[in-house]
């Protein structure tokens, strides 16, 4: 249904782009810890599509949680978490 076959070659330089914040896949333990501290289920997290270029570059799979380190005008640096989904 989703044409996942068309694997475009992704340009790794986007990782270095100034406007692209740092992304990282959480390990299973970290993910469990995160869900525990927030006391939420994974489906309550914000989503990110598997088709997102960064997700593809990281090689994340559906269900993975991605940690994003963003620059913030109020807090200096802030962490954001998104769960990889099929769409």
């Amino acid at each position: 249904m989703v044409s996942r076959s068309r694997k475009k070659r992704l340009d790794t330089r986007i990782l270095e782009h100034e406007l692209v914040p740092e992304h990282r896949i959480l390990s299973l333990e970290e993910a469990a810890e995160l869900l525990r501290t927030l006391s939420i289920k994974p489906n309550q997290l914000p989503r990110i599509s598997i088709n997102d270029p960064i997700v593809q570059l990281l090689g994340a799979k559906p269900g993975d949680i991605i940690e994003i380190k963003r620059r913030s005008p109020t807090a200096g640096e802030s962490l954001y978490y998104r769960i990889v989904v099929v769409f």
């Binding site: 249904m1 989703v2 927030l38 006391s39 289920k41 309550q44 914000p46």
Partner: protein, 893 residues
């Protein structure tokens, strides 16, 4: 029966969820108490026809009528549905969108979903998982799946060839068969929909239990009870039926016609025609504004208001009656200013206070008070309008019960007295448009004579109110909980700081600013008499401070008086508004008195102006006090010190006259020379342009270059003229004071009054259109000179030339149009944002979530700070901390 009028006699339940589905035909049959077969309503003797649309079985609506179905009178009869058995099925508009989906995705022969079974099984698994966790994603998934099914041209189950289905809104379906396009009848459609299996519907995002697709093709139509479509009796005694009744009568009529054709074996074409007509009439009954459907009318002129029209739009059921409920115990009138009431108060006219009432439960402690109110009766303030006797459960209207004395004596504990609004009651006050939470604030009532609501002018900014005829609304809260909540959360002083950007939204404007400046200027020395008058205005009760000058006369400075009201340990430094241009200083070492320094609650130097006491000025003195000493301290300042500023103006006077905006002839001569000079330079440029000698700016055409250069030169001329003019003016005249302190007006306004208006523009360009090749008939064609293209060298003091008036009006008109367009557009944009975000909330763990519990932010605003409690967005301002607790370095020496 208790005080709420007996509402608690009924059982009550909490609604836990609402599920929508399609009303199935068997359900319609079950509900129906009448089958409507006749289009007319009354017999010749005036009694309703059985089997007509006024059949009494639709429920009792006349006074005294007893319902033949439930035996109730009209107060308690809930109304009962009827039905119309349609001779042939009919498509219902809006459902056709779903019908389209099902037709497209299923086989025309066997009704199976056009996806092979193994694949469908896989999809089902994915769909169920998604639906459980991410309903939104499941909807997207279904969309993709539908697309895939619709593209399959051969059924994977029975092998039947599929044809493309074309759907024309609102109710027509064609099938593109090889022999040509054929219209699908509702009967054929219904047959196909019936074949579709429940498990296939699931994958199409349809719940087969609640919404079988064949139910969307109506075989029987529900007829709403009479209470939904009540007939009205006109004064003439004529009965007039509701629009829905008219529409339903038309359906019955067309249905009857079709039925007759069918039973009399009429030619197929006639049957076809009657059927199609019936379909359109039913469509119009649902929505009379559908495209390609003839609207139902009354006598061919008035289009009927059918079901959709009742719900739709601003005055429809949803926006008009559900979101827009009307309330009792509210009032609206013109507002006028009263600086001598507290900012927490609102002046309420006695006439209004006698109508708005508060229920007061009689206790041993307020029995005497309650008696006083009852004794005064409904027409004498402070009185009471109703008494509710607990013992007998009766409500007594004091307007008709003249013996107040007896009533007062019979009062006992437990009774409830509806008493007039009195001083100190908490009410909500509001001004539209309510764009903010500060558009509705709680005030304390102050009953006053005359007919307007009185409002302290300091609370104008949150409401964006002025007194040129503005009206405001007032709501009385009737429960103790509501009043307490409003007082704690909504009281004006709780909203001195705005949650929007971390600054004060309440504060001085206009006269407060000029007054504060005039009181605190360096050269202000006040005699004892003046000091006493000022302090009396503020309600000061303490000792007079030591005078600044003892001999020959005791004199005080304005700064001393201001210092009396500041917190005793306040340290503050900051620039004043006048700190700009020739009066600017960057450090505390300031000759111009434009750098404010407060040390231990004493205003040592600097003037108070907009930057110190003004509204919407983050980190000013008022803001810092509200943050560090609390809202009530800031309110106290607004109710005392600020009154002194107004009194200062009363004493000194503030006015402007022509002489304030006049300059000597030599200055005017100088400006004239400047104009001449600029004109010559521009003439030179134009000449160069015409001769083709002008160097274009890169990326611009020659014409653009010339325009740019001319505009720049004229800009400079305006600036220079303004400077010359102001240099000849008295820097202490009232026009200047107002502009510099930020009370009213700007440098531009002064320049326009004294020197010249400058270039007028239309759409960002010099005025160019009007006549062919020229702006006005006063100029030659293609004249590019400043005066021919909207440059106004006249000023408001000496007047404009006729052509200048025209150009000024052209520019001014554009400004008006712009503001009108901008406000409506940005208003709509804001409305959409509000609707999108209104359900977000900050949970107790600091995360921001939507109403489904989905996380939106992991920490509110990423730093978790409440902007209302910040220094202009900074939760911790280190510089301010040092200033507050550290020593003022220079000033303390």
């Amino acid at each position: 029966m208790s005080y709420n009028g007996g509402r608690d006699r009924f059982e009550s339940y909490l609604i836990d969820r609402i599920v929508m589905g399609v009303l199935p035909p068997h359900e319609i049959n079950r509900m129906a108490r009448v089958t409507v077969t006749r289009p007319d309503l009354y017999e010749s003797d005036g009694s309703p026809i059985t089997g007509g649309l006024r059949d009494p079985h639709f429920g009792a609506i006349e006074p005294g009528e007893v319902c033949p179905v439930c035996g109730n009178t009209r107060e308690n009869c809930p109304g009962h549905f009827g039905k119309i058995d349609l001779a042939r099925p009919v498509l219902i508009p809006y459902y056709t969108d779903y019908i389209n989906v099902v037709l497209q995705a299923t086989c025309r022969q066997c009704g199976r979903l056009l996806i092979p079974s193994e694949k469908a099984e896989k999809y089902r698994k994915i769909y169920r998982r998604l639906k459980e966790k991410w309903p939104k994603l499941a909807a997207n998934f279904v969309k993709e799946l539908r697309k895939e099914a619709a593209q399959t041209m051969e059924c994977p189950y029975c092998g039947a060839r599929q044809f493309r289905i074309r759907y024309t809104r609102p109710i027509i379906f064609y099938e593109e068969r090889p022999e040509g396009e054929t219209r699908l009848t509702p009967l054929e459609i219904r047959d196909r929909l019936e074949m579709v299996r429940d498990e296939d519907l699931e994958l199409l995002g349809i719940d087969p239990k609640r919404s079988r697709p064949e139910w969307m093709v109506a075989t029987v139509l529900p007829v709403p009870p009479l209470a939904v479509r009540p007939p009205i009796t006109l004064e003439t005694g004529m009965k007039s039926e509701d629009d829905l009744t008219h529409a339903l009568a038309e359906i019955v009529r067309q249905n009857l016609r079709l039925k007759n054709f069918l039973s009399s074996n009429a030619p197929e074409t006639m049957i076809e025609e009657a059927w199609i007509t019936l379909q359109y009439v039913v469509a119009a009954y649902i929505d009379n504004e559908l495209p390609n459907v003839y609207p139902l009318t009354q006598k061919r002129v008035r289009t009927l208001k059918t079901l959709a029209q009742r719900l739709k739009g601003k005055e429809g059921r949803l926006r008009g009656n559900l979101s827009g409920k009307r309330v009792d115990f509210s009032s609206r009138t013109v507002i006028s200013p009263d600086p001598y009431i507290s900012v927490n108060e609102v002046g309420v006219p006695v006439d209004i206070a006698k109508i708005l009432t508060v229920p007061m439960r009689v206790t041993p402690y307020n029995l005497e008070e309650a008696r006083r109110y009852v004794l005064n009766g409904p027409y004498k303030w402070p009185g009471a309008t109703f008494v509710y006797k607990a013992r007998s459960g009766r409500k007594i209207d004091l307007r008709y019960h003249r013996n107040y004395k007896q009533m007062a004596e019979s009062l006992e504990v437990g009774d409830i007295v509806e008493r007039h609004l009195i001083d100190g009651d908490i009410v909500l006050f509001n001004r539209q448009p309510s764009l903010h939470r500060m558009s509705i604030l709680a005030h304390k009532v102050r009953v006053m004579p005359y007919k307007t609501f009185r409002l302290n002018p300091l609370v104008c900014p949150p409401y964006n109110a002025d007194f040129d005829g503005d009206e405001m609304n007032l709501h009385v809260m009737r429960s103790e909980e509501a009043r307490t909540e409003a007082e704690e959360l909504l009281l004006v002083e709780r909203h001195i700081k705005t949650p929007r950007y971390g600054g004060p939204i309440i504060g001085g404007r206009q006269d407060y600013v000029s007054g504060a400046y005039l009181l605190t200027v360096k050269n202000r020395f006040l005699t004892e008499k003046e000091v006493v008058r000022l302090l009396a205005a503020a309600g000061y009760k303490g000792e007079l401070p030591e005078p600044a000058i003892h001999a020959p006369k005791k004199l005080w400075t304005g700064k001393q008086l201001v210092s009396l009201f500041l917190p005793k340990d306040l340290n503050y430094t900051g620039k004043a508004k006048i700190n700009s241009g020739p009066l600017s200083c960057d450090t505390i070492d300031c000759f111009h008195d434009s750098y404010i320094a407060i040390y231990e609650g004493k205003l040592l130097m600097g003037v108070f102006d907009k930057s110190a006491i003004g509204a919407e000025q983050p980190n000013n003195v008022l803001h810092v006090i509200a943050l560090e000493y609390g809202d009530s301290k800031a309110r106290e300042l607004l109710d005392t010190m600020y009154r002194m500023f107004i009194r200062m103006l009363d004493m000194r006077g503030l006015t402007i006259s022509l002489s304030d905006v006049d300059i000597p002839p030599e200055a005017r001569e100088k400006i004239k020379d400047l104009v001449e000079e600029a004109k010559n330079e521009i003439a030179e440029m134009i000449k160069e342009f015409e001769e083709g000698k002008l160097e274009p700016i890169p990326g611009r055409s020659l014409q653009e270059t010339l325009e740019l250069k001319i505009i720049n030169r004229l800009q400079k001329l305006l600036k220079d003229a303004g400077q010359i003019a102001t240099s000849y003016m008295d820097p202490f005249n009232d026009v200047f004071i107002m502009a510099k302190t930020g009370a009213r007006g700007s440098d531009v306004n002064i320049t326009q009054m004294v020197a010249m208006l400058g270039q007028q523009t239309v759409r960002g360009k010099r005025v160019w259109r009007g006549f062919r090749k020229r702006t006005l008939a006063h100029f030659k064609p293609n004249d590019l000179s400043p005066e021919a293209r909207g440059f106004v060298k006249g000023n408001f003091r000496y007047g404009l030339r006729p052509t200048e008036v025209f150009f000024h009006a052209a520019g001014g008109r554009e400004g008006l149009v712009d503001t009108a367009v901008k406000t409506s557009q940005s208003g709509y944009m804001q409305r959409r944002l509000m609707n999108a975000e209104q359900d977000l909330y900050t949970a107790y763990d600091g995360t921001v979530r939507d109403l489904y519990g989905q996380i939106v932010q992991f920490k509110f605003g990423e730093d978790g700070a409440d902007p209302m409690m910040t220094y202009h967005g900074k939760a911790v301002d280190v510089d301010r901390l040092i200033e507050r607790f550290g020593v003022l370095k220079e000033a303390s020496k």
